[in-house]
Symmetry: C2
Subunit: 381 residues, 2 copies
Amino acid sequence: MSTEPPVPETSVLAVASHVVSGNVGNKIAVFVLQSMGCDVSALNTVQFSNHTGYKQWKGTRVSAQEITDLWEGLKQSYLDSYDMMLSGYVPGAAAVQAVGGIAKELRHKSEENKKPGSFFWVLDPVMGDNGRLYVADDVVPAYKSLIHYADLILPNQFEAELLSGVKITDSASLEQAIRVLHQEYGVPHVVITSVSLPLSGSSSATSTPPPCTSPTQTSRTMSVVGSTMTTSGRRPRLFRISFPVFECYFSGTGDMFAALMVVRMREAVSNFDLLEREHGDGDGDGDNGKKLGERRSWLSGDDVDAPDLPLARAAEKVLASMHEVLARTCEGMTAEMRARNREDLDEKTLHLVRSRAAELKLARNLGCLRDPAVEYRAEKL
Amino acid sequence: MSTEPPVPETSVLAVASHVVSGNVGNKIAVFVLQSMGCDVSALNTVQFSNHTGYKQWKGTRVSAQEITDLWEGLKQSYLDSYDMMLSGYVPGAAAVQAVGGIAKELRHKSEENKKPGSFFWVLDPVMGDNGRLYVADDVVPAYKSLIHYADLILPNQFEAELLSGVKITDSASLEQAIRVLHQEYGVPHVVITSVSLPLSGSSSATSTPPPCTSPTQTSRTMSVVGSTMTTSGRRPRLFRISFPVFECYFSGTGDMFAALMVVRMREAVSNFDLLEREHGDGDGDGDNGKKLGERRSWLSGDDVDAPDLPLARAAEKVLASMHEVLARTCEGMTAEMRARNREDLDEKTLHLVRSRAAELKLARNLGCLRDPAVEYRAEKL
C-alpha cells in the first residue's frame, strides 16, 4: 500500500449521522476521508446506537439549532475554511435547511474571495429508496431548494425522480431527469447511484436484491449513470459504468460511495490539471486559461467527452473500491453466518445477527480504499 | 507502509468526547484505532465545535441517561461484544459512573463465560493536569470507585496523585503512588504519562512547556513511567522511557497515547504468545499453562522483568509514533505560523490561529502510526 495520499491537502466538512456501532453515515465517511489523507471536520446529525436497518435503535437527533450553533462555534474560532463539503443524512427539513445554510455561506465566501473553484459541495440527498420515502414529506422541497448550490449530487434512482419530477423507466427518461437537474436546477455534476434499468446493452434487472442468505456475486449487473453538464447550454454528457451485483443488502454503501467520490473527484481534477500542465495546454476551452480546479464547480470544457470526464474517472475508482470492500464483507459475512446455528435463532434475532454481519468491513481493508484495481470502465450512454 | 494490520481482529468500544474540528478525544482515538485495523464502536460523550483549549466553543454534552440508553440500544441488538474498551473524557460524575457501569458489565460477562482475558479496559481518568482540576470535584471519587475494574490506567502525574493520594515529588513517591494503585486499588497495569521529575539519570525539568512560538525539539526530556504488578503480592515492576520534548503545547496527545496503547498492548500480548508457542514454553509461570492473552488482565508471570513486559514493549512503540506525529505537526505548525503576519493579529486571534495550527496532523501521516521507528527504550527504574 502506498504511503502517499491520493489527494493534495484537502479539508472536508462532513455532515451526516453517527452510529456507535457499525459503518454508516459519518462513521464510515469520516474514516474513508481520513484514511485517504483528508483533514476532516465531522458534524454529526444524530447519535444512534446502530443504524435503522436493524429495525431497533436508541439515541438522539441533533436539532437544526444545534447544527447552526456548532457552525457558529467553528466560525468564531476561524475553523470555517473548507475545500469541500459532504452532506448525507440530515434529520428533518429544518435541519436540512441549516446544513444548506452552511454550504451557501462557504459557496459565498469562495465567490467573494474570487476563488470560485476553492469550494466544492457533494450533496447526497438522502430521502428514500426503491419507491419508498423514509423522511418527512417536507424534506423533499427542502432539498429541491438547495441542490442549486451543490456542485455534485448523488441521488439514487428514486431520489433522482423526486428531485427532477421525472419518472425514470428507460434510457430516455433517465436522460430527461438528468437534463432537468442540469438545466432547471443548475446542478453541474450528477451521479445516479444504483440504476437498475434495462439500459441499452446492459443485462440489469429491476428487482431489489433479496435479503442475504449466502451472499454471492452473480451475473446480474447494475449501473451508475453520471453526467457533467456542458459549459454552454448545460447539456448532459452521460456515461454509464456497469458492475456485477452482490446478492445481498448492505447498509452504508451510499455513504461510502459519497465519501469516496469526494476524494476521487478531487484527485481526478488534480490529475487533469497536472496533465494539462505537462502538455502546455492551459487554455483549451476558453475559460480564461484557468486550471480546472480553479473554475467554479470544476466544470470541464466542452471538448471533453463523457467517458473522459474527471467525474467518470472518479466514479470508476470509487466503484473499484466499493467492489473490493463488498467482496471482503461478503467473505466475512458468509463465514460469520456459517459459524452460527441459524435454526436456534428466531426471526428477529436472525435479522439482528445478519444486520451485524453485513456491516461493511473497512478497517482491515485499507488497501481496497487506497489502491483498488479498476475493472469497470465508463462508457458513453 | 505494510498493508497487514498490527493486531489480530479486535473490537473496541471507545467512549470519549467528539469535536467537529480538530483532533482530540474520540475524534483522534477512533481514527487511530481504525487505521490500525480495529473494529471500533464510538460512543461520543460530547459534541463540541472544537476542543476547549481554544477557550471558546459551542455544542452539547451527553447526559448519563443518554450514555446508558445507547448502551441499552447496543445490548438489545447483540452489539455488546467487545475485546477491549477505551474510555477518555466523560462529562460529570454521573456520566463517569454510567461509563463504569458498561465496563463492569463487560468485565462480568467475560468472567461468566470463563474467558477472563477476553475483555481489557484501558481507562484514561481525565480529571486535570499540572496541579489543576478541570472537572467537578465529585468526578475524583467516581474514578476512585471504578479503577478497580480497569486493566490499565493512564493518568498523568497530577491524576496519579489524585487517585493514589500520594504527592509525587521524587522517585520514591512515584513508586509509592504506583504501589498504592496496584495494591490498594488492584489496578494491574499503570502508565503515568508525562512525568517531569528529576529521576535518577534523567535530565528532565519540572516546568510546563511554554506556549508555542516556533516549536523545536530541545534537549529537555520527559518520561513515561509504567508498571505491571506481579501476580504474587501485587508488587510494582517499574520501567521508564525517556524522550525529548517538543517545546510546544499540543492538545490531544493524551488521547492519541491512550488509543495507541490499546493497539500496541494487544499487539505485544499477541506477540508474546506467538513467541511462547514457538519456544514450546506454554507453562512458564504456573498460570495453568494459559496463554497470556487468556489470563485476566493479561498479567505477565513473575519471571518477566520490568523492561521486558508487554506493557513496556507497547509503550515504546506508542512513544515512537507520538514522536513522529509531533515532529510532523511541528513542521506544519512552523510553516503555518510563518505564513501568517502575526503582527496583524490581536492576542485572542493569535491564540485561536495557534491552537488550530497545533492540531495533531494525522491523516497524512498514517505511516507514523503503523510503522514507527522505535528509538526510545524502556529501562528498569
